[in-house]
């Protein structure tokens, strides 16, 4: 499977070339265009893993309830993927390790990659950021997207990332939801609220912009919904 990107970082689209027999699993709604002979199957879960409960969990995670599986039969084919928010995309190749992906950043993965909803329990409930995570494992490539540009931060020790800016991170990192700086008061008053403090060694991929901040600056100009 060959993946490349065009029109980065503003209007990124991913072009995926599927060889015969290969399958790509993509988030519902991500496909822009594709070869006519690709076989599409829509399920509520990753094929041959989990079931409806997993799908419902994913829906709560802000992802589409459905996943589409694109398979090239006897002929190879190509497929274009896009995302709803303007921004960049990245490719990541898993080689047995685990990658934790912020649910909204997931676009697609190879069939050989396993996807699991990571339930971070109480941590999520208090954050108010609807932070849900997908634990990606196995071997193969995945495609992630972001709102804005993506920059990696190599963590060795401790590093803070605002909750709305996380795309993905290595599972070798541990994180806690905490305050920015030393004082809770400053963190709350200063509008930073809760942030993620990463500990250990690994990489966090951050998105330059926060969808929620953009949303709230836009919605102040929108008319209320007619009842």
């Amino acid at each position: 499977m060959k993946i490349d990107f065009i029109h980065q970082p503003g209007n990124t689209a991913a072009r995926v070339v599927l060889a015969t027999g290969e399958t790509l699993t993509a988030e519902g709604g991500a496909m822009i265009a594709m070869s006519g002979h690709l076989h599409v199957e829509t399920t509520t879960h990753k094929k041959s893993s989990g079931g409806f409960i997993k799908a419902v969990k994913r829906m709560f995670a802000g992802e589409s309830l459905f996943l589409n599986h694109f398979t090239a039969g006897n002929e190879s084919g190509e497929l274009w993927l896009g995302s709803s928010l303007a921004g960049d995309m990245m490719r990541y190749e898993l080689d047995g390790e685990n990658l934790i992906v912020q649910a909204g950043s997931f676009v697609a993965c190879e069939h050989s990659v396993n996807m699991d909803m990571g339930w971070q329990g109480f941590k999520n409930l208090i954050s108010g950021e609807s932070m849900f995570w997908l634990r990606m494992s196995g071997r193969g490539q995945l495609i992630l997207n972001s709102f804005g540009a993506i920059y990696p931060v190599e963590v060795d020790g401790e590093y803070i990332v605002d909750t709305g800016h996380i795309v993905a991170f290595n599972e070798t990192l541990d994180f806690t939801l905490t305050k920015a700086g030393k004082s809770w008061l400053s963190s709350m008053l200063g509008g930073e609220g809760l942030v993620c403090k990463f500990k250990g060694r690994g990489t966090v991929w951050c998105q330059s912009h926060n969808p929620k901040s953009f949303g709230s600056s836009l919605t102040s100009g929108l008319k209320p919904r007619r009842a």
């Binding site: 920059y151 800016h165 920015a180 912009h209 100009g221």
Partner: protein, 220 residues
């Protein structure tokens, strides 16, 4: 202090490398990531009264964040505005500059932040009743929705409402119809801002209220 604007004009963000003892002041919620041992302090933006004015009149947040490095080594911090768009760095050398509400992103510790009445014309032109004043010596980062255009003005210039980002003190604002009554009403330009004087203005190529008014009729 080493700083760099990255992410191209489409998604500009500011990377700041603070040396020991250095400080940077940023708009609330501007921090996207930072070294865990940087100190953060939320402070009233320019005193209690000015901060209140900023909150209720300019629509900006009441607090700004002071990030300081009290460690022994260099520490990194990333700052960003809520909208995708360009960010510029302005070097003030005992000068004053006016910024529109929402345009301010960050500044170095020595720069003075204030709020000033911009006049009812500015308000009618959807440019806000008040404006942000940055003065003194140091660096100021400001941004916009879309790209930024700069124009040297000597005389008059016309800017569509809600596209003005900042201007030098020698400039005044006036409101007028874009053309005749007919072209103003039907040409989609409506009211425009006439900037008068000698100095520099900065314009954003897009406007958030423009996007909102495009979405509004499509809402269910």
């Amino acid at each position: 202090m080493k700083t760099a604007i990255k992410g191209s004009d489409a998604f500009a963000y500011v990377e700041v490398e603070l040396a020991p003892g250095e400080k940077v002041i940023a708009e609330a919620d501007a921090m996207s990531s930072m070294a865990a041992d940087l100190d953060l302090q939320a402070k009233f933006n320019g005193g209690f009264f000015v901060a209140l004015m900023r909150k209720f009149l300019v629509g900006e947040t009441i607090f700004v964040n002071h990030f300081s490095n009290n460690t022994q080594g260099e520490r990194r911090l990333t700052l960003v505005q809520p909208t995708p768009g360009a960010v510029r760095c302005l070097e003030l050398n005992n000068e004053t500059f006016y910024l529109q509400p929402g345009a301010f992103l960050a500044c170095t510790g020595e720069v003075k932040l204030g709020v000033k009445f911009a006049g009812f014309i500015s308000w009618v032109a959807r440019e806000g009743l008040f404006r942000i004043v940055v003065s003194g010596t140091g660096k100021v980062w400001y941004g916009a929705y879309g790209a930024l255009l700069e124009r040297e003005i000597d005389g008059e210039y016309i800017v569509d409402t809600s596209h003005l980002v900042g201007y030098t003190p020698g400039i005044g604002l006036k409101l007028q119809l874009a053309g005749g009554i007919f072209s103003s009403m039907f040409g989609g330009e409506g009211l425009v801002t006439r900037v008068v004087g000698k100095g520099r203005i900065v314009i954003q190529t897009r406007s958030l209220s423009g996007l909102a008014s495009w979405i509004n009729p499509k809402l269910p």
